[in-house]
C-alpha cells in the first residue's frame, strides 16, 4: 500500500496547531516521483509549525523525505497560512 502523505503530514502537524479546524493538507501536484504537498494553517499557528529558524518545518520535511525516499520519490512541502 502506498504511503498517504497527506495523512502522515496532517498527523504530524495536528498537535502543533491551536486551530485544528483551519488545518488543511493538500497534495496538489502528483507526478509519479515528485510530490508537492501544500500545508495551510491558521495565521496564528504559522510560527509554531515553522518553528525557530524553521527547525520544526525542517524536521517535518526530513521525516517526509525519508518516507518518500523509501518509495523512490521526492517530496516538497510548502507551509502557508490563509
Amino acid at each position: 500500500m502506498p504511503v498517504n502523505y497527506e495523512k502522515l503530514i496532517k498527523d504530524l502537524v495536528t498537535p502543533l496547531v491551536v486551530h485544528p479546524e483551519d488545518l488543511m493538507v493538500k497534495m496538489f501536484s502528483e507526478d509519479e516521483a515528485m510530490l508537492t504537498l501544500q500545508v495551510f494553517v491558521h495565521a496564528d499557528d504559522l510560527g509554531r509549525v515553522i518553528g525557530k529558524n524553521g527547525r520544526i518545518a525542517n524536521a517535518i520535511r526530513t521525516i517526509a523525505y525519508a518516507s518518500a525516499s523509501r518509495e523512490s520519490k521526492k517530496i516538497t512541502i510548502n507551509i502557508d497560512s490563509f
Binding site: V3, K7, L8, D11, P15, V18, A59, T62, Y65, A66
Partner: protein, 202 residues
C-alpha cells in the same frame, strides 16, 4: 499536563481564554466550570486542563508516524524520572530513519521533544534512539577523540575535527577532559561548529 484556573463571563469566553493561555490544540483541552458566582452578572470560575499526558502523546505520535509510513516498528518508552523520557525504536528500516550522519534521527528527536514540551508544564528531556545508534556513535566518537588526541600530544600540532552537533561535541569534550597533554575547544558557528584539539603548554 498543563492546567490553570480563571474567571469568565460565559462558556464561549472560557474556551477562548483556555486556548490563548494553554496555546495547544483545542481538541486536547478540557474546560470545567468549578463554580458560578453572582446573580445578575454571572461569573464562572473555570479550570482548563490539557487532556493528554505529554510523554504518552509523544509515544502515540511516533507510533502513528510509523503506521503512516508503512514501517513495522517497536517503540519502547522509558521514563527515567519526572524530567526525562527515552523512546527506543527498532524497525525494519533503521538506516533510513537514522539518516546520513544521524540527521533524520536528530530531526525526529527534535520534533518529538518540541511536542512533548508544548504539552508539558515542566521541561522534559526527550531522547530518541533508533537501533542503538547513539551508543555506537558514542563509542566511535570516543575512538576518534582518543586517536586524534594522541597524535596532537605527540606532534604538538592542533587538529580540527569535522563539524558535529552539540551532543556529539560534548561526548568528545568529556572524553578528553582529564587529559593533561591536550585541551579541547569548539570553534565556528552552528551548524558547522567543530572541535579543535590543541596541545597544552607544558
Amino acid at each position: 499536563m498543563k492546567s490553570f484556573k480563571f474567571e469568565a463571563k460565559n462558556l464561549d469566553e472560557a474556551k477562548k481564554i483556555a486556548i490563548t493561555e494553554l496555546r495547544v490544540n483545542q481538541d486536547f483541552i478540557e474546560v470545567k466550570v468549578l463554580e458560578k458566582k453572582g446573580i445578575i452578572s454571572k461569573t464562572l470560575i473555570c479550570e482548563a486542563t490539557t487532556t493528554v499526558e505529554p510523554t504518552e502523546l509523544g509515544y502515540n505520535l511516533l507510533k502513528d508516524m510509523f503506521v503512516n509510513m508503512n514501517i513495522d516498528a517497536s517503540i519502547e518508552m522509558r521514563r527515567r524520572n519526572d524530567k526525562e523520557v527515552l523512546y527506543t525504536i527498532n524497525t525494519e528500516e533503521n538506516p533510513l530513519l537514522i539518516g546520513k550522519a544521524g540527521k533524520t534521527l536528530e530531526n525526529i528527536q527534535f520534533y518529538v521533544r518540541n511536542i512533548v514540551n508544548l504539552y508539558s508544564a515542566e521541561k522534559i528531556i526527550v531522547l530518541v534512539d533508533i537501533g542503538g545508534y547513539k551508543d555506537n556513535r558514542k563509542r566511535q566518537l570516543e575512538i576518534i577523540a582518543t586517536k586524534t588526541a594522541k597524535d596532537v600530544a605527540r606532534s604538538r600540532i592542533e587538529a580540527k575535527l569535522e563539524p558535529m552537533n552539540a551532543y556529539e561535541r560534548r561526548i568528545i569534550h568529556t572524553k578528553l577532559s582529564d587529559w593533561r597533554d591536550v585541551s579541547t575547544t569548539s570553534e565556528g558557528e552552528n551548524p558547522n561548529r567543530y572541535i579543535v584539539i590543541k596541545p597544552r603548554r607544558r
